[in-house]
């Protein structure tokens, strides 16, 4: 059946390259001829705030820039506290892709709030939705800092899951990032595709 479109929430914290991620993904869908609306909700101007991108592609004009809670097909999250904020937005058959990276929140750091007693990773996997956790420790190696390249790793993971052409996706990465970062990004992409193949097998 032909894909008529999907609603995606991309979440994380400032500095994780979420806007680049949604930019790269938008280029892929534009090449396929889809209509798009991408709404970036960025918190207070300072670093470390939550970042949320509502990404919608469709073969018909997209209306609302925001996805209604309950209408999300895919939640792609770069930080696990942020993943929790959007679990209720997923469709019953919606899929979660989440890094287990965590940037502790300032309100917990300063004891204005208590942290959640449960493990956040467990709360995510218990949601009832199909879930893929990208584990930073498991995929860490001396020559590759996965936490700094999470956006490209996530792009490759998502492309593998959807059965998209890695060649085309890599071509978009090459076109979009500055020349000096191309090599590192391609390496991250290949690593991401590898992680995905291992988890999807």
């Amino acid at each position: 059946m032909q894909d008529t479109g999907k609603n995606i929430i991309i979440a994380g914290v400032g500095g994780q390259g979420i806007l680049l991620f949604s930019n790269l993904l938008s280029k892929y869908y534009m090449k396929l001829g889809y209509e798009l609306k991408i709404s970036d909700v960025i918190g207070l101007g300072q670093r470390g705030g939550g970042v949320e991108s509502h990404f919608r592609y469709s073969n018909e004009p997209v209306l609302s820039p925001f996805i209604k809670a309950g209408d999300v097909d895919y939640l792609l999250s770069f930080e696990q506290t942020e993943t929790l904020r959007y679990l209720h937005c997923l469709k019953d058959d919606g899929v979660i892709f989440s890094s287990n990276f965590e940037l502790s929140t300032s309100s917990v750091n300063t004891r204005l709030e208590k942290d959640m007693p449960e493990s956040k990773t467990e709360l995510i996997t218990k949601s009832g939705n199909k879930t893929f956790i990208i584990d930073l420790d498991e995929n860490k190696s001396l020559d590759f800092d996965i936490s700094k390249m999470m956006n490209i790793v996530m792009l490759a993971f998502y492309a593998e899951f959807r059965g998209y052409s890695h060649e085309e996706m890599i071509e978009i990465v090459k076109e979009s990032v500055p020349a000096k970062f191309v090599e590192g990004n391609i390496k991250a992409y290949e690593k991401g595709a590898m992680i995905a193949r291992a988890q999807l097998a």
Binding site: I42, G43, Q46, K68, L103, S104, T105, T110
Partner: protein, 601 residues
Amino acid sequence: MKKESKSSTMKMLNGNEAVARGAFEAGVKVASGFPGTPSTEVMDYTQQRYPDIYCEWSTNEKVGLEVAIGASFAGYRSFAVMKTVGLHVAADALGGAAGSQINGGLVLVVGDDVGRIAGDDYNDVRHYGNMFNIPVLEPSDSQEAKDLMIKAFEISEEYSTPVILKITSVICKTTSSVAIDENDTYKVKCRQKYSVSFSKVIMTTMMMNAKGSEHPKLTKCFNDFPAHIKRLAADSNDFEINRLELRGKKIGIITAGTPYFYTKEVLPDASILKLGMVMPLPENMIRELAAHVDQLYVIEDGHDIMEKNIKDLGISVIGKELFPKFPEMMRFTPDIIEEKLVPDAPKRILMEGIPFRLPVSCAGCSHLFISQILKKNKIKAAADVTCGLIGCFPHMESYSLQKCMGSSIALAHGYNVATDHKENFVAMIGDGGFWATGINGLMNLIFNDSQSTVIIVDNSCLAMTGGQHIASSEFGFNYKPENKLDIAKVCEAIGVKDIVTVDAYEFENLEKSILNAVNAKTNSIVIVKKPCVTKFKLPKSDIYHIDQDLCTQCRKCINIGCLAIESKKGKDGKVEIVINEDLCVGCGLCSTACKFDAIIL
């Protein structure tokens, strides 16, 4: 909505990019204004992409608008960009322009931060439309942002009025496709219809004297502004940018901006009046919709302004009684509309107990040093609108007073006058706030013989909005080294007796300088220098870490408010205070706060 011609292609643009493109297509000559989230990038894109347009960041919004008014009188299309909070500063200039003769189209692009998405007060620019009787246009997506920017200039010239283009944080940050004609070339327009343009005060004074007089010296000064706006209101019933979509007879919705799309998605069968111009209202279209449906609703972001204006026409409409306004509702979402108008829709509930992210300063920010010194020495101080206002938040508690941009110097002066200068209440201000309006507070402080201390944070840019240039920056659209203003020299010229300049990272020296200034029985200024760590990317030095054997978890370091210091649960469930290696820049502030020497290189 999309006007595609043969040579046009579809491009993905966000609202800010689309407005800049509209300025180019409208043949704008002059762009001015002041940075403010969410609309700052309108200017950035205009300057980067359309070199034919003269661009400047002005010293503040009022100056920016006055520059645009002058350019417009010269006959050239001009716009000023600012956020709504900035228009409060520029309101006097807008009042002067409203109702006066317009030669080249004059447009204010104003960013409304609906729902405090980017952290702002809950303002609504449309109040200025009501107050000054000027039209307000509001786009629903990027295509309309471009089209309405062009339309705004046409309306401004045809009806002799400044026009406000209201863009919201959602419009500014949403990317959607826009038809762009790549073959379009820049065509500047010049229209010199009037030889004079005076404020309403001058005009109405002349009008009184001119009763019965047809003397051309008097009539040339008079602009019949009420007639222009009446004509605009009548014509607006036929404007393409206002659109009546008659569908079902049960529910009728009057809406504008992105709420139009939320409504259309949630209520596909409802009849909708979609307004591209929200002021003045097209009365005939509203009556037609009202006659077509059983119940009329208004769905508008921000305050209940259209609702009141519709009710003033004697038309019954449901608005805030169903959709309560601030603080209950920050901004419209499709979810809110569904909850109220589609009662059987399933409810989705956010998980409880997810911790909130309070804003934190970037690691190495000079503001952290100042906040820390003020707190440590129990110095009472006022903060300004700057990245340093994070020091007001409860985890830091460095400041006890904070209001609007540029205010802190006058606030401290007022406090000190009222308390007979018995305690030196200090003002902290950023360089951006200082040049914007703070400098007025300083002049006032001097000639009223106040003995206050002012800390000026010189980080070489307007940090909070992303590092735009200011009068003391060493870069900028129109930068020339010889025109750079020097904060210390200007303060000296104004008459400040005691001025020192200190590097923020020299903690002891900075602390001593601030204490000296506070204790001096005269007016004094401490200029704290350190380029913004985000804009200028300081060279990375050795980073610090915490020796867990020495750490007592007293959390003095955490309460500095640095993003790099975290409280983390390890795999064994034990909480540790750690320094995030990716974020630490090695400024060393935390090591000065630790009493147990646990923070080491």
